[in-house]
Amino acid sequence: MAELLPLFFVFAMGLALFIYVILDGYDLGIGILLPFADDAEKDVLIAAIGPFWDANETWIVLGVGILLVAFPHAHGIVLTQLYLPVTLMLIGLILRGVAFDFRVKAGSTQRGLWNKIFCSGSVLTALCQGWMVGAYITGLDSSGVNTLFSILIAVTMPALYILLGCAWLLIKTEGALFHKAVSWARLAIFPMGIALLLVSIATPIVSDLIAEKWFTLPNSIGLMPIPLSSIVAFVVLLWLLFRPGAFANNPAYGWLLYGMLVLLCLMASLGLAYSLFPDIILGKMTIYEAAASTESLQFVFFGTIITLPLILVYTVYIYRVFSGKLSSLEYE
């Protein structure tokens, strides 16, 4: 039992961060897309994420919270090493959070300014999260090559978030905005695909430990589903975006696109999890070394198995209540 607890918590942490990326990813992406919409569309874009965005953000708090209570030794090192990107990300999130209210309440003369702040905060947050993922994969070791690698992931993240944002708009909107979202997604898919390929090639190059895990023979064959599913998901995405005729007016269109992006994110997460396991800081500390005492973990375990399902239930509930297209929302 005592050995299973760190496994449980590393799984719960991974799950929370995965859900964070696929949920907050779309509302950050819509924030990045804001300058490309006209003034009326900007309001629709914000309304499309209005009921969801702050609940989406709580998943990263849960992920980092689990890191703190279950793996305190790693928490200190990780957050100390990531001090600069974390600080910048917080500034981005703060600006974004207040812009939601101020763009409406500060009067129409100030709306343009707060729209710009909303977009800048979203871009800054996405860049910093990519930077953190890059720094984390390279074992928090900021040499020249590793910094380049972090920059590569930093610029990949906004492209992924833009695609998630477009998929969300395809689910929530109709008409002109729907077609705009398709054209935005067509522009974002190639940078995202190329960047994803580059990251997959670069990861084993910057880390010998990761290369060894992937390129020893029995493992390589067992791991094939991960790159293969990613390729399939990417091809389906291309087909959906460039042959939309096959799915015209089908309400499943947006969900299918979103689902393929989720599959891509899931494969990237599984790949990352396999690359790191059992380390929590690559090459420096395992999850067992970083874990809190068994008594603490047992205590938190009961809290987690009560709260995590509750959060999942209310999340599903919110998405059911606010489901459907935005333009059909009319109160007479």
Partner: protein
């Protein structure tokens, strides 16, 4: 913190007595009440400050000292991020007060908007 608490009590009692005796408030009372808008904010900040300063040099009282836990960042890094936070919060404070002023000076217009019968989904989402 305590002074602000008493100021809150006194100003509210003053307002209640005035309203019970006559139906109108003096300009001085209105001015005082509008300034009291920030009393809750000042009280929270002051209380927080007292806790943080009073806890020194402990992080966990009697268990862990701050000096045992502090990260080994360059002073320049910490100073830069501190200045960034101060500038950010200064900007947000100014925006917040400006927005409160704007919202307080347009109640008549808002009332007119509320009286319109049809409210569309888009406008609900703005609120």
């Amino acid at each position: 913190m305590l002074a602000v608490g008493f100021a809150m009590l006194l100003s509210s009692w003053w307002a209640v007595f005035t309203l019970l005796r006559r139906k109108d408030c003096s300009p001085l009372l209105l001015r005082v009440l509008s300034l009291m808008t920030f009393s809750g904010w000042v009280a929270v900040l002051a209380g927080w400050y007292v806790t943080e300063v009073g806890r020194q040099p402990w992080m966990v009282y009697g268990q862990l000292r701050i000096s045992e836990l502090v990260a080994d960042h360059e002073p320049g890094t910490v100073l830069t991020t501190l200045i960034a936070y101060v500038l950010l919060y200064g900007f947000l404070l100014v925006s917040y007060i400006a927005t409160l002023r704007y919202m307080a000076t347009k109640p008549a217009r808002s009332l007119m908007e509320l009286q319109q019968p049809a409210i569309t989904g888009g406008e609900i989402a703005h609120g």
